[in-house]
Amino acid sequence: MSGSVLEIKNLHVSIEDKEILKGVNLTIKGGEFHAIMGPNGTGKSTLASAIMGHPKYEVTEGSIILDGEDVLEMEVDERARAGLFLAMQYPSEISGVTTSDFLRSAINARREEGDEVSLMKFIKQLDKDLDLLEIDQNMATRYLNEGFSGGEKKRNEILQLLQINPAIAILDEIDSGLDIDALKIVSKGINKMRGEDFGCLMITHYQRLLNYITPDFVHVMMQGRVVKSGGPELAKRLEEEGYEWIKEELGITDETVEQNA
């Protein structure tokens, strides 16, 4: 067996004492592409943040295990080095730090001291990825995310994905704010990661992204839980019919996390 396994079991997460996730179960394996859909405010980003270890989110119950290791015991940077990656819905701006300096630090963080990536090799790989994502060369010398347009930030997240090459990536609304061409380019970048050694969880509102990146599994989130799972056809049906039929099927009147199931 190759590839990593991320197992999320009965995950409960609170923010400022308010429970947002109420028992999420999900397993992502190397080679698999998962999509999570769901109405606004149902806990999708919360799940992503809890997996990565966002300081504001408190896990009150359940477990997250990566290849047998307890992720919840790890600091944010340890989770990253263990193989997790999160393309954030709202990436931070880091003034005064160039994208390329930052990328080099991120790559070297995964290597032993004395075994840092050579500048030549780094630049070569960076140029290749910039080309693939059709990102202007000068973005590498601009300060990380500072003054980037919404779409540029998203592309930059995928640039980081390619450069860091994680085992499991979570992409939180990587398609939001992208124009049609950019969506194709970003999808091309993500598809390039496909392989036995890469598992992916995409959070999205739109079927459109899934036309370019076909998921193996589609999950629907409501009330802070995964309420329905299926194949790619589930996403298509959601695109056509919305969420009402699921709510009816499951007897849900208020899909937000405010409601206890």
């Binding site: 989770r79 990253a80 931070s92 880091i94 003034s95 005064g96 730090v97 930052f102 630090s105 860091i164």
Partner: protein, 436 residues
């Protein structure tokens, strides 16, 4: 209140000191007259910092020579780190204690009449020129007790003169190396850029006295005549034992520009004043400064640009990182005088706190005596943004590495302005050492 302190230096001592340097009569007289004023003048009063108990009076002053070298490779590595080995400095002066250890100036510039020499040689060879500017228009002898002390006891420094319309491309660099851990430095830097000329100057102050107590009392005077441009960079790095008073002033005439980029990395207590007078119309100045405070040191940085001319433009940028129980006060004062119409004045002071016990204060002040002007200011004292840390760490960077990047980013707007690559690197290393 004036503090009556007995200084171990009298008129005879100064006259003797002056005579040994072969100084012109006017200099000897200036020293003696300054000394006579020391005890009647007040100490400077940097806003929000009490310096009454700082040591500005006890020090060894005797002229202390340092060994001269024939090539820079004879210098210790620590000093060599200040200049580019590949890109050998064409215009470099190294002052070791109070004497010149090494100096070089491009022949072509010499032919054009550029002067770049130590202050004592300048007093001998260009007495009239030095006298015309020395402690007159920019820093006056009787400004306060410390400027008077400086005038009386000046024991090092350089003079740079750039004739009319001479443009100097390569930077001019001076390294002031206090090798002797006890001797005080009363350093005077005098720069005159004649009409239409331009230069980039960079200076480094270095000392190693962690334990021994001494004083640095530094005055810089920069004169930019009509349409002249001066880019002034500095990295101050006196060790913890040195108490520093540094007063850097500039006077810009019509269409002139004076830009400062000061890396203020002293480890001892420091009072720094950086004042620029924009006298002529269209004169501009950017005054940028960074500091890292650590340990128990207390520092006070005042940057001020006073705008007299019309359509002048001034920008003050101060950035500080505070660690340990260090205290830093930033005062950024923009002043548009009556008559300075259509001028613009901006100040920005930001302090990043890395520890609970550190204290930082950022005070941008805007004083405007004219209606038709634009101005703006910004100030902040804050901690490292936890969301930035989360973002960086989510890419695998350790907490320390993430914090290091954020700090570098924070100081970058000033560090990037330091004109010589090797010095920029060296400053970056100093910052690294200070924040870790």
């Amino acid at each position: 209140m004036t503090v009556e302190t007995k200084l171990p230096f009298d008129k005879d001592y100064l006259e003797q000191f002056s005579k040994e340097r072969n100084e012109p009569a006017w200099m000897s007289e200036l020293r003696v007259s300054a000394l006579s004023q020391v005890n009647t003048l007040e100490m400077p009063k940097p806003d929000k910092t009490n310096i009454r108990n700082w040591n500005f009076n006890t020090f060894k002053h005797e002229f202390t020579s340092g060994q001269a070298v024939t090539t820079t490779t004879e210098l210790p590595e620590e000093i060599q780190a200040y200049f580019d080995e590949e890109n050998k400095a064409e215009n470099l002066l190294i002052q070791r204690n109070h004497s010149v250890a090494f100096s070089t100036l491009n022949e072509d510039l010499k032919d054009k009449g550029v002067i770049f020499t130590d202050i004592f040689t300048a007093l001998n060879e260009h007495s009239d020129l030095v006298e015309k500017y020395y402690m007159k228009e920019a820093v006056s002898v009787d400004q306060d007790r410390l400027t008077a002390l400086h005038a009386a006891l000046m024991n090092g420094g350089i003079f740079i003169y750039v004739p009319k319309n001479v443009q100097i491309e390569a930077p001019i660099q001076a390294i002031f190396w206090q090798e002797d851990p006890e001797t005080a430095l009363f350093n005077h830097v005098l720069i005159v850029a004649e009409e239409g000329s331009s230069l980039t100057y960079l200076e480094n102050y270095v000392s190693h006295n962690e334990e021994q107590k001494t004083v640095a009392n530094i005055v810089t005077e920069v004169f930019a005549h009509d349409n002249a441009q001066v880019a002034y960079g500095a990295v101050d790095h006196f060790a913890a034992g040195t108490t520093t008073y540094v007063n850097r002033r500039g006077v810009a005439q019509r269409d002139a520009k004076i830009n400062w980029a000061l890396g203020q990395m002293n480890d001892g207590n420091t009072v720094s004043e950086n004042i620029t007078y924009l006298l002529g119309d269209n004169a501009t100045s950017e005054a940028k400064a960074v500091t890292v405070g650590r340990g128990k040191q207390t520092q006070n940085f005042t940057s001020s640009i006073r705008q007299f001319g019309k359509q002048t433009d001034a920008f003050i940028l101060q950035r500080g990182v505070m660690k340990g129980s260090a205290t830093t006060i930033f005062n950024a004062i923009g002043k548009i005088e009556h008559g300075g119409s259509k001028s613009n004045s901006e100040q920005e002071s930001r302090v990043l706190m890395l520890s609970e016990k550190a204290r930082g204060d950022a005070n941008p002040i805007l004083l405007i005596d004219e209606d038709d002007v634009t101005a703006g200011h910004a100030a902040s004292v804050g901690r490292v943004d936890p969301l930035q840390m989360y973002y960086l760490m989510s890419r695998g960077l350790t907490k320390e590495e993430a914090e290091r990047l954020v700090i570098h980013g924070f100081l970058e707007p000033v560090v990037s302005q330091i004109p010589i690559e090797s010095v920029r690197k060296q400053l970056t290393q100093v910052i690294e050492r200070k924040v870790n």
